[in-house]
């Protein structure tokens, strides 16, 4: 009797739809128990790496079991669909690619924390639930899960003042963003008496229009803080600079991907009554972010900060195309989010290998003549930089071209031209880095050491950047179907 009272109409067998999440959770729990039981040693460090890799691979494998193509489970609070599946798979793979770097980075920098492994797992779990829900409460809880993990991970750099400063700024501003999200959620719930974004947005009528719009904009602002949109970006360069570099890569790739998914899910439900206010706020923020983010990156002397500002600018590119709520725009946004997570992770991972030598201190001039020290690293760094800039054989070009198409389809040409102007500004710093690496004499001696896993990881990211750039249809066909499907669902309401 008790069970029926609590669970209501929910069925426990629906847990089979959460198989990847459950595997990730079990991984976090296993690592946690191991941390309590075992004494610190070299074997334990190795064991942690391999157990994490094992559980993440199991989680990837568990995607082979697909019970259904599209389904709302647990009374509609959790949605199993292609966008969710796709982004979850991406997040797990990105984490898998980050972990080997985390291991060597923490060992070399004498800042080994076993906690970082299971906190990574828990933030991954939060990202996975964030990517697959329309429910405001589930979104809020998973947002907290990801953010709190990120605050802790930013601070886990032994003896570094910058790391603590960044974590503290991230904590304060992240807390504000959560408050704003909740405030917006309260307005949305008040306007529609529902917690489901789909039901909220389709409950539009002239009486509740004001509250609905206020709620929607506040919700948008909260996510804008999380992804580092310009008037709210102040925490981002500090947090990204302070965090251990593989963690920065993780936050900039998997984290950014997860933070974007609820916004992407919101787009098909912005109907023509809500469109003007949505369009104005999104496009102004996006234009500011693109221009100011790139201009600020241009004047940085610190390479990690430069990449952080480039990450801000890329959030702007993705946000700009959300202003055109067409199927094409959504496709471009999804494509660019996935693609940025590949190239952003790659650039930060290369930096994390460079940082392990004593002579390196992230100053830009130190990168001079890197090609003479290490051919593989500088070539892959150049590939990632060209991808971030958007040069044709790489995947960044396809992303930017699609964003421009998505804007053009709704005749938002002015934003398209801002995009081109911002890209022109960004040429300044990306090309300067490549030029320094290949044309100058070596500034410092660097002998980076990386093992087979790290080699594989960077190699895979380079191959993905180039292959997806040359054959964009590999990713495009899937994304195209996802976007059409989301719009068809929205139009059914």
């Amino acid at each position: 009797m008790g069970i029926r009272l609590l669970l209501g109409s929910t069925n426990l067998y629906e847990l089979k739809y959460l198989l990847p999440e459950i595997v990730v959770f079990l991984g976090a729990f296993a690592l946690f128990l191991l941390d309590i039981v075992m004494k610190s040693s070299e074997t334990k460090k190795k064991l942690f790496l391999w157990i994490s890799v094992l559980f993440l691979s199991l989680s990837v494998l568990s995607f082979l079991y697909k019970p259904e193509f599209f389904k709302d489970v647990f009374s509609g609070t959790y949605t199993v669909d292609t966008l969710g599946m796709f982004s979850k798979l991406f997040e797990i793979i990105l984490t898998l690619l980050t972990l080997p770097f985390l291991h060597t980075y923490m060992t070399k920098k004498n800042t080994f924390y076993y906690e970082i492994y299971y906190i990574t797992f828990l933030s991954l779990l939060g990202m996975m639930t964030l990517s697959s829900s329309y429910n405001l409460v589930v979104i809020y809880v998973s947002l907290e899960m990801v953010s709190v993990s990120f605050y802790i991970m930013t601070a886990l750099f032994r003896g570094s003042f910058v790391s603590k400063e960044g974590a503290y700024k991230y904590l304060i501003i992240g807390g504000i963003s959560i408050i704003i999200a909740l405030y917006g959620a309260a307005f949305m719930y008040g306007a529609s008496k529902s917690l489901d974004i789909r039901a909220i947005m389709s409950s539009y009528n002239p009486q509740n229009a004001l509250y609905l719009i206020v709620g929607m904009i506040l919700f948008l602002l909260a996510f804008a803080i999380k992804i580092g949109i310009i008037p709210f970006h102040f925490w981002l360069p500090d947090a990204y600079t302070g965090a251990p570099t593989p963690i920065t890569g993780f936050m900039a790739s998997a984290g950014k991907l997860a933070f974007f998914i609820p916004l992407l899910r919101l787009v098909p439900y912005v109907n023509q009554h809500l469109y003007s206010s949505w369009m104005i706020s999104v496009s102004i923020m996006a234009a500011l972010t693109m221009i100011v983010g790139n201009a600020l990156a241009l004047v940085q002397a610190d390479l990690k900060r430069l990449l952080a500002y480039s990450s801000i600018a890329h959030s702007g590119y993705i946000l700009s195309v959300l202003s055109s709520n067409s199927s094409m725009g959504l496709k471009a946004a999804i494509y660019f989010v996935f693609v940025y997570s590949i190239m952003g992770l790659g650039s930060f991972l290369v930096l994390s290998v460079l940082e392990q030598s004593d002579t390196w201190d992230n100053q830009i001039y130190k990168i001079g003549g890197l090609y003479r020290n290490t051919g593989f690293l500088s070539l892959s760094f150049a590939v990632f930089l060209f991808a971030l800039l958007g040069i044709p054989p790489t995947v960044g070009f396809v992303g930017k071209a699609l964003v421009f198409l998505g804007l053009a389809i709704k005749n938002i040409y002015w934003l398209g031209f801002v995009l081109i102007l911002a890209t022109a500004i960004s040429t300044g710093y990306y090309v300067r880095l490549v030029m320094l690496m290949f044309t100058k004499d070596a500034e410092i001696r660097i002998k980076p050491e990386y093992d087979i896993l790290e080699n594989l990881s960077i190699g895979l990211l380079v191959v993905l950047t180039l292959v997806l750039g040359m054959f964009p249809f590999i990713l495009w066909n899937g994304i195209s179907n996802i976007s059409e499907f989301l719009f068809r669902l929205a139009n059914l309401r």
Binding site: M1, G2, I3, L5, L6, F32, D35, I36
Partner: protein, 123 residues
């Protein structure tokens, strides 16, 4: 008129406290002693008499743990009220809840948060 009892309770309360405090003040012995103005710190000598120094972070960790178990009791109370209604399922849920909290405590223990032997030099 329905709340006249409440009002009289308020009057009695105020009156009693005024009477007791003033009696204490009138009849109590008054002696000046140096330790009377000495701040109380759990029966041990003061670490620092300016009270504006930084505290060892062990205090904060212990405080957090204390807060954790305070809140645990707050959550257990409503469960205990409807215990017979929830039956085995409720028992299992609370068991899991307590298990997770216990793991938290074990974690803190293993990481040395409960060691009360601070290095006095670093205070």
């Amino acid at each position: 008129m329905a709340y006249i009892g409440l009002l009289s309770l308020l009057v009695v309360m105020l009156g009693l406290s005024v009477v007791l405090i003033s009696l204490n003040w009138l009849l109590g012995p008054k002696k000046k002693e140096s330790y009377k103005t000495y701040p109380y710190e759990c029966g041990v000598p003061l670490y620092d008499d300016t009270a504006q120094t930084t505290f060892h972070q062990g205090y904060y960790i212990l405080g957090l743990l204390l807060l954790l178990f305070d809140i645990e009791v707050a959550y257990l109370f409503p469960w205990a009220v409807v215990y017979s209604l929830l039956g085995v399922f409720g028992f299992l849920e609370v068991f899991l809840f307590l298990l997770i909290l216990t793991f938290g405590l074990v974690y803190a223990w293993r990481k040395g948060a409960l060691d009360w032997q601070f290095d006095l030099e670093s205070l």
